[in-house]
């Protein structure tokens, strides 16, 4: 704020922007101001609707057509980027200011090879095609693409997700830009890849002295990667500061609440997660006072009428009445240990389910996918024209128990869930529900069982028909299974109450729902037939940190009330730690470790489990990992399943024996087993 002159690369001042929509003017950004300091990594953190990506796009002049900048300036050197003409902006883009995109699957053109895409970026340079190609190969090598001389001719679909994002970073660094903008650079990637990307980007900053602005909702990523942080809420900057100040000395109630909601920060494993109740305010309405007042636990009556003061402090600013002025509260901010968010104090479930007879028993289940047609495989002499998506999986789920199935993309976890629900045929093994084998049952015979086995789908909005009202959606399962003269209106209200969805929402349509509300509708649909077991595929995917706690608490409450069992399929370890009784870790279609949640977290036996547990970036800059590369590379393709232990190709502890034969499952405690020849041992463990 003070020494703007020399060490500021980019300065945003009073940026105010509206979106003209058919609902009216959405005041998407209001008076955004912060400097970007040269050579540093600045993180913009906020939940969906905070406007963090809009800030990024306004720097580049690539806003949507209905955006209208009404005030402010974005100064880069002696230029104001908001008033610069199209040619001037285009001269900067790609050369001085470059971007790493959120989803490498959709942000790279599928029909051009990387060599072409990268030489296109260098079109302004008077270099020969051969030199451009060489520059592309060098940059691909720098970002860790193996064998870049030949891979430069590959097309995006020939790369895995992590490789694509590496190539995306290579493209953006190709011209040696001064400023690199990264929009949720790891959101589409697995945990083990995320750590590698953070490493890579920090390394590039050091090598090329590039200033980086990274936008993310992921507090762990921000803490691990950034030097400076800007916290945004509903189109305003509520707090700025250096990363230590934000994570250890946050002064704005929103920053405090956001940090406390992150499950990775919550060390005590209670089944209730903290939440920030309420929703982001409607930005088409006229706004007065503090934007966070409606959801703030510390709000005073004046907060919603008077604009909060802008308080300068050590390394940044904060906008809050509690800090300065007539409403100042000398006891604010409280020490870090004191919680400032809503916390249900529901009683935790007794661990009494251990000895009950399993509700669902899966034994040696195998699922195979064909890789080529019958004729092709015969002509080519391929003996096994299929891959094992699920390989010899055995699992139990007991009544009222939550089992979390954790794995990276491609681990087969979703396939396993679908097979249990008879949505996918299995090649071998058995699935028993209450003792009856239900594997590969005809849909006609399985239909009565669909009442007992329900599914919560991954995409909360996409899995709801856009043409049906919430009332129709949540009573649909009843109609399919014969409503038998039930009063559907009554049932709809009963279900809405169960999932704490206001009854007024029953007449709404899916596009009118927020992510959390749509997820509640999904829960209601799953509950409609009073199931015994719910398979929930990524129940918190796409939800904000402040909302995901609500859904998980709701699921826990419903379990208590109705004795439900859950199979939760997820890649998100911090979340399952709070909700799961037991955890099963999957890798390439096999269970590599299974045990009680607390035990698996505290003393993982399999190196892969440990890599996953340690792979989650901690939302605490003091706990930055020096060397994040405990495991390297990516999940291999199912087509190239290693001969020995599936994980041997990436395992830092692999020995020759690991590459010879598949390790058998071994029991290390009555409820804890793993598939590793050389499991990790701990000092306080009895060796059996």
């Amino acid at each position: 704020m003070k020494d703007l002159a020399n060490n500021t690369l980019l300065n945003i001042e009073g940026l105010t922007l509206d979106f003209l929509t058919n609902r009216g003017r959405v005041k998407a950004l209001r008076d955004i101001a912060f400097p970007v300091r040269k050579g540093r990594i600045l993180g913009i953190v906020g939940e969906s609707g905070s406007g963090k990506s809009t800030v990024l796009w306004s720097i580049l002049g690539l806003l949507a057509g209905n955006a209208q900048v009404t005030a402010g300036r974005v100064d880069y050197g002696d230029k104001n980027l908001l008033t610069l003409n199209a040619e001037g902006l285009r001269a900067l883009r790609g050369e001085e200011i470059s971007v790493v995109f959120q989803d490498p699957m959709t942000s790279q053109i599928p029909v051009l090879p990387y060599a072409q895409q990268m030489s296109d970026i260098l079109y302004r340079r008077s270099m020969s095609e051969a030199d451009k190609r060489k520059a592309a190969v060098d940059m691909l090598r720098r970002v860790g693409i193996p064998d870049p001389e030949s891979r430069v001719d590959a097309y995006p679909h020939e790369f895995s997700g992590g490789m694509r994002q590496r190539a995306g970073i290579a493209m953006s660094m190709l011209t040696g830009p001064n400023l690199l903008l990264a929009d949720e650079p790891t959101t589409a990637l697995d945990v083990t890849m995320e750590a590698q990307m953070i490493d890579l980007m920090r390394g590039l900053r050091d090598d090329f002295e590039t200033t980086i602005v990274v936008v993310s909702h992921n507090l762990g990523l921000i803490a691990e990667m950034c030097d400076d942080v800007v916290v945004m809420y509903a189109g305003e900057v509520v707090e700025t500061g250096e990363v230590h100040d934000i994570f250890h000395n946050a002064r704005h109630p929103y920053t405090r609440a956001l940090l406390e909601c992150d499950p990775a920060r919550i060390t005590d494993v209670s089944r209730k997660l903290p939440v920030i109740p309420g929703d982001i305010p409607d930005l088409t309405a006229s706004l007065s006072g503090c934007i966070f007042a409606s959801r703030c636990q510390k709000a005073l009556p004046a907060c919603s009428t008077t604009a909060p003061p802008l308080v300068e402090r050590g390394t940044g600013i904060a906008r809050c009445h509690l800090l300065e002025g007539p409403l100042a509260d000398p006891s604010w901010p409280p020490p870090a240990e004191v919680s400032t968010v809503m916390r249900d104090t529901g009683k935790t479930l007794e661990a009494s389910v251990k000895d009950a007879k399993p509700l669902l028993e899966v034994r040696d289940l195998n699922v195979q996918f064909r890789t080529m047609g019958a004729m092709k495989s015969r002509l080519r002499g391929v003996e096994r024209p299929f891959v094992d998506a699920v390989l010899d999986v055995s699992l139990d789920i007991r009544p009222s128990e939550t089992l979390a199935l954790v794995g990276e993309s491609g681990s087969g976890k979703t396939t396993l869930g679908r097979t249990i629900l008879n949505l996918q045929d299995a090649a071998g093994g058995s699935v028993r529900f209450e003792g009856n084998d239900i594997r590969n049952m005809s849909e006609r015979r399985f239909k009565p069982l669909r009442r007992d086995l329900a599914m919560m789908f991954q995409d909360p909005v996409g899995s709801l028909s856009p043409r049906k009202s919430v009332r129709a959606l949540i009573t649909e399962p009843l109609l399919i299974h014969g409503a038998e003269g039930r009063n559907l209106d009554f049932e709809a209200e009963r279900l809405a109450d169960m999932v704490r969805l206001p009854r007024g929402f029953l007449s709404r349509y899916p596009h009118e729902l927020s992510g959390g509300q749509a997820r509640r509708v999904g829960v209601a649909r799953a509950l409609a037939l009073n199931p015994r077991l719910i398979v929930a595929d990524e129940p918190t995917a796409g939800l904000d940190v402040s909302v995901q706690g609500e859904i998980l608490n709701l699921m826990a409450d419903l379990q208590e009330e109705h004795g439900l069992s859950y199979l939760i399929i997820t890649h998100n370890l911090p979340v399952v730690r709070h909700i799961a009784d037991r955890i099963a870790i999957m890798y390439l279609g096999r269970i590599v470790e299974e045990g009680p949640a607390a035990e698996v977290f505290a003393r993982p036996a399999h190196p892969y489990t440990r890599a996953l547990v340690e792979g989650v970036p901690q939302p605490d800059p003091d706990r930055r990992r020096q060397n994040t590369g405990t495991i390297k590379g990516e999940v291999p393709s199912l087509l190239r399943r290693p001969k020995g232990c599936d994980f041997a190709t990436r395992c830092p502890l692999a020995r020759d024996a690991c590459r010879e034969a598949k390790p058998e499952h071994r029991q290390i405690a009555p409820d804890h087993r793993h598939a590793c020849l050389f499991p990790l041992r701990y000092a306080d463990q009895q060796i059996t």
Binding site: S98, T106, S107, I109, V111, M375
Partner: protein, 314 residues
């Protein structure tokens, strides 16, 4: 890839067989004895019996079909009932006229329709976009035979700019070209509008894709983004449409050939059906079906060549 081609050709053979079988059964349901038609009403019963035996007309339809297929495989499609010339020779003579008409018709439609759709999509809501929209609907709505008649009336009869009938002096390229203009205009006009609409719609979709935003964020020139990136993806569904469009053009060409009295395959089949000249009908339909299947195969291969994702899945 070879397996893919193998499959496609197998499928093509099945389609050709099915079409021919259907045609065979239908021709034999039409009243009238082909032998009498061929020999005239005053032919003696012995002559008719002799002719029927030679042409296998006295055997079951299925058997006739097998005979036909057997000789078709050897490149023999039978003889013209009236002139006794080989059908293959007659088709070869006329094929060129039809091919020239269909390819010119589609050619000018592509050359005009694709850029129109592209420009309309780059500036949605502009005057060019609006005019293209109205023009598209208008030209799609008017059937090609009406366009043929109007064009004939206006340009040949009223203005006398272009010749009305025939395909032009053999060997005189300029004359043949001037005879091609009106029928090609007539059958291609609807396709200009159709292609413009298709290209516009898929361009608008592609222009909203994240990878187009990436290209803009890297500062590429707008021209390069539209032609090198967006059109390259947006053209793919249009290629399929063009391939299938050749099927429609074969039938549009029949009308155009009748109206402009062009000696093409369409007119040949039409005349042969009225004359019960079955060998010509069979040969003509076989060639038309084969042509259509070939064009669709070419368009699919073209897409595979342009789209690496399709290529790697073949």
């Amino acid at each position: 890839m070879t397996i893919y081609l193998f499959k496609r050709f197998g499928l093509a053979a099945v389609v050709v067989m099915a079409v021919l079988l259907l045609l065979f059964s239908m021709l034999h349901m039409i009243p009238g004895n082909p032998a009498i038609l061929a020999l005239g009403t005053r032919a003696t019963p012995e002559a008719i019996a002799e002719y029927s035996a030679r042409m296998h007309l006295d055997e079951p339809v299925l058997k006739q079909f097998v005979y036909f297929l057997g000789s078709a495989v050897q490149g023999d499609l039978g003889e013209d009932v009236f002139s006794n010339r080989p059908v293959t020779a007659i088709i070869a003579e006329r094929m060129g006229f039809s091919l020239a008409l269909i390819c010119t018709g589609m050619g000018w439609a592509v050359l005009l329709g694709v850029p129109l759709g592209c420009l309309a999509a780059v500036r949605p809501g502009s005057w060019l976009d609006r005019i293209t929209g109205v023009f598209s609907v208008g030209t799609i709505a008017v059937p090609s035979f009406l366009v043929s008649i109007w064009a004939l009336l206006l340009f040949s009869i009223q203005l006398r700019w272009l010749p009305a009938i025939g395909a032009g002096e053999p060997g005189n390229f300029a004359d043949q070209l001037s005879h091609l203009v009106l029928p090609a205009f007539a059958i291609g006009l609807g396709w200009v509008g159709y292609l413009a609409r298709m290209v516009r719609a898929s361009m608008l979709e592609v222009m909203g894709e994240p990878y187009i935003r990436s290209a803009r964020a890297f500062g590429l020139k707008p021209r390069r983004i539209v032609l090198g990136y967006a059109l390259r993806v947006a053209i793919l569904p249009t290629i399929t449409l063009i391939g299938m469009g050749f099927g429609g053009l074969i039938s549009s060409a029949v009308f155009a050939e009748i109206i402009f009295a062009r000696p093409g395959i369409g007119k040949m089949i039409f005349d042969a059906v009225s004359d019960r000249n079955f060998p010509i009908v069979q040969g003509g339909v076989l060639v038309a079906t084969g042509f259509y299947i070939l064009v669709v195969l070419i368009s699919d291969l073209l897409i595979a060549w342009l789209d690496p994702r399709v290529r790697s899945s073949l």
